[in-house]
Symmetry: C2
Subunit: 361 residues, 2 copies
Amino acid sequence: MPERVYNFSPGPATLPYEVLQQAAKDIVNFQDSGIGLIEISHRSKQFMAVIEEAEQLLRELMDIPANYKVLFLQGGASSQFFMIPMNLLGDGKKATYLNTGVWSKKAIKEANQFGQIEIAYSSEEAKFNRVPAPGEYVVADDSEYLYFVSNNTIYGTQFPEMPKSEKMLIADMSSDILSRKLDVSKFGLIFAGAQKNLGPAGVTLVIIREDLLERTPKNVPTMLSYKTHADNGSMFNTPPTFSIYIVAQVLKWLKAQGGVDGMEKINREKAEMLYNAIDSTDYYRGHAEPGSRSMMNVSFNLPTADLEKKFIAEAAAVGLDGLKGHRSIGGCRASIYNAFPREGVVKLVEFMKEFQAKNPA
Amino acid sequence: MPERVYNFSPGPATLPYEVLQQAAKDIVNFQDSGIGLIEISHRSKQFMAVIEEAEQLLRELMDIPANYKVLFLQGGASSQFFMIPMNLLGDGKKATYLNTGVWSKKAIKEANQFGQIEIAYSSEEAKFNRVPAPGEYVVADDSEYLYFVSNNTIYGTQFPEMPKSEKMLIADMSSDILSRKLDVSKFGLIFAGAQKNLGPAGVTLVIIREDLLERTPKNVPTMLSYKTHADNGSMFNTPPTFSIYIVAQVLKWLKAQGGVDGMEKINREKAEMLYNAIDSTDYYRGHAEPGSRSMMNVSFNLPTADLEKKFIAEAAAVGLDGLKGHRSIGGCRASIYNAFPREGVVKLVEFMKEFQAKNPA
């Protein structure tokens, strides 16, 4: 294998190569301290500087208002599915959910334990091939929040614009955080598992409006209350130091790409190249409806399952790895998160043309 | 600074240098795949082999019976404080706790939400300078389990032998797991945050007897039920892949040291050197009572707080880092976990003699 292949994996996913190279040095000897990155105390000056830098870069890149707390938690995005309603709902309280895929379904299942959940929209019958347009759902007046998944990795769908509601928004942005401009002030809470656009698995970013920290019922375990982590700068217990370090490095890299604005431009260009390749022929068919297409995950089919299998194998053999679609819908999927290089998309488009020519339907 | 200093930090703590060097290679290009360690899918063959190896090595090194599950979870040992009673207790059920330090106190606080907790022993009034001897506490007949912390990092105390009880044992072994021989079959559950004897922060090991998986009340969130993780080989959601990889490497290293038996011999020798140095003079005084002394953390005092400050600073200047005691009891502490090299203890003992000679009380 060459030193580096193009990794279209949906997460854990490709990261900037320079971040990996820097981590390789720091892991053995961090900042010339004679101690490795994962051996230093989380209360050391060196690590405190890392976590502060990660938070400051996030605040700057996402333009996070001062009345929001930035938390680095463990447990994956899946733990947010119950932590959100556990902290923010309670007997008789209502919340509204948009069901656009497996991750929203799982969130709805957990939320049902903590309040009355209204599913205002579902595209499940159409194999989640679209997200709702603004007029397609109603949020009840007595709802505490509107919950949605901004990008759905499996189906390759994404809200082209964030839902608008008088209720506060809560969003799972695990697979598209920092990929495009966002108005954080419309949200009560934003969360994202790191392993797509932020860094490695093992840390989950939570951005929460300060006033919400007071809503947690008293019987919630200490570790499950957002306030515990907000009051202790994510250091109530030992945080996942390595993962937070990588997030800080990725954010520095992102800033050097021109921040979120610069990144969004690159992301639009990458996605456009790929969707143009799909739309230019009947050979490839996109899974998502055009108005719901994701810039992060491009799910598509070939004329037959056999051709898809051959496509995935031959692509891997030329250094285009991880193109197999999720088992729930099959086919192919190219995940092209922030750190996925433009050249890899160019190569994939070339490969798609060659493959079609060699393998007519 | 030299390339490597002796790091007496209590956790995150020193790791085998060869593990760090291997990680530095793998993080850029894992097993010559052209993809970095933290970029590969957790469902890839490569990572599945890593997590299976970690589990198999643990089973072999700890002689874990077949009716126990090995789980790699997130959330730190602190999350086990509530997960244990949440899964194993319930209305009217009783459990017995031994209070030997800040970590058992925190566990007791969380457990109180889920059942009737009896504190059968506490050394709090003596600044937790000892653990109980076998006859010093009674476990109620209707107790579900006896909970204890096998090693108390802050105070430098450790159960010289595991408590004996007709009830199943549950132990927080975060700071001494794999440091000495153990009969797992006496336990219902053993847990350990990784960042002392196992690897980096970000993963928590849980070893649980299979029959206990059926006790979880139905209203427990999916992610908080042990059964969820047991049924899915710790892959219900994306696991902390990097931390698990390091654990696997550390276990391989441990096996090469002669396994737990070999390690215990080295640990006893290291601790004995240090306690001999303390006992050979009135200048240094150990915090823990001799019968409760820890092989992992040696907490001690000098004649005055000023001398302690000077000792810590001058030691750091000669490459003996992290000797400051925990703020709750002050003084000095040398954490000498499995991976801490014998030569570092020799150097510290030499330094202690020199320091005393130059700085009489």
